[in-house]
Amino acid sequence: MNVRPEQTSPEHAHVMEPIEHAIRWILLCGIALSVALMAVGLVLVAAQGAGLPRGVVPLADLPAALSALRPAAYLSLGLIVLIGTPFVRVAGSLVIFVRARDGRYVLVTAIVLFVMCLGVALGRM
């Protein structure tokens, strides 16, 4: 997963800012967790020989379905982690802007996060 600096001209390797480090780290973790969950789901699909499930598990039923080792639950959670990663990325950016005392972008990022969450809330109605 490591991205090498430009091989032909190493003197141009970009020095990452704290926010770039944070974003990259959050995204890598989100992707890794999501892929791992989907892989578990696919292994369960293969083990149970029932084919890929045709619907996601609603959030409320997820814990029960996970402990029952239902493949759909692990695939669903993998998708949820993938969908959730940008939320965590924006929240992480907010923390970095707060630490840097960059008031303007604390506000900007907070608005983005708020509207994202608002969207989810509206969609559930």
């Binding site: 032909t8 990452m16 770039e20 950016s93 994202m116 969207g119």
Partner: protein, 261 residues
């Protein structure tokens, strides 16, 4: 298929959705709303994976991205809520129209934006294809912001990341060089799509049968795409962008006409 979509989407900053929705509904006969839900997941996968490369190269203008995200995410939430209420065939026709419009816009433009220091959201990155550092500032921030509202709305409505609009807005209107535009657009489409995806998940349009293989293919493809975007010349990238859009505009129009819309 998803792998190819991941390569092209991440290379052009448009998210695989632009390719995924027509492919799923045309080639695999997936219901349009399930196709859109799948494509939104793909857009997120493209964005997350491609950013790990773009960010470490310093190509993403994170502050510009966050600023325009305010506009696009507001528009997208409005669009995402309406999408589940609108007829699938109307959506398809709207999609075809959107693709034609963007392809036409790309065709009209000449070369890349000329980088100029404006004192607004300035950034710099190293362009291996040109062999030099590119320093640039942002122009017409307010106009770009307003247009991004519209781009966000369209993306929420149609399940595309909206990158097809964001790239021309940043490049043509705001004077951001194409490569920085692609990287920044790629960052933004993930945010817009995540808000939309959560809604589609809640409404039960998400189908793991399509979404899981597609997401895994996209993740693999989006490892590769940014490398092309970094190394190719801006001119070549622009031409590829145009061709991809034109082909799919044509496909969707044929589909729309077939339905007698």
């Amino acid at each position: 298929m998803a792998f190819v979509a991941g390569v092209f989407g991440s290379m052009l900053g448009v998210g695989g959705g632009l390719i995924m929705v027509p492919m799923l509904s045309l080639a695999f006969g997936v219901p349009i709303k399930v196709a859109i839900a799948t494509s939104i997941v793909c857009v997120i996968a493209t964005s997350s994976m491609a950013q790990t490369t773009f960010v470490s190269r310093g190509m993403t203008n994170i502050r510009l991205g966050m600023l325009l995200e305010v506009a696009t995410v507001v528009g997208a939430v409005a669009g995402g809520v309406t999408a589940v209420l609108i007829d699938g065939r109307v959506l398809q026709f709207a999609f075809a129209t959107l693709l034609f419009y963007v392809a036409w816009q790309m065709n009209r433009r000449g070369g890349d934006a000329t980088p100029a220091r404006t004192g607004v959201l300035e950034a710099a990155y190293y362009d291996p294809a040109a062999g030099c550092d590119v320093e640039y500032g942002v122009r017409r921030t307010r106009l770009g912001f307003v247009l991004s509202l519209g781009a966000g709305n369209v993306s929420g409505l149609l399940g595309v990341g909206g990158g097809a609009f964001k790239v021309p807005i940043m490049n043509l209107v705001m004077g951001v060089p194409l490569k920085a535009t692609i990287a920044t657009s790629n960052l933004m489409i993930g945010v817009t799509a995540a808000a939309g995806a959560a809604i589609f998940y809640g409404r039960g349009y998400m189908d793991p049968y399509y979404a899981v293989p597609a997401a895994l293919g996209i993740l693999a493809g989006a490892r590769l795409g940014p490398r092309f975007a970094v190394r190719l010349s801006a001119r070549a990238l622009g031409i590829i962008f145009q061709v991809v859009l034109a082909v799919f505009a044509l496909m969707m129009l044929l589909r729309g006409l077939g339905f007698g819309l």
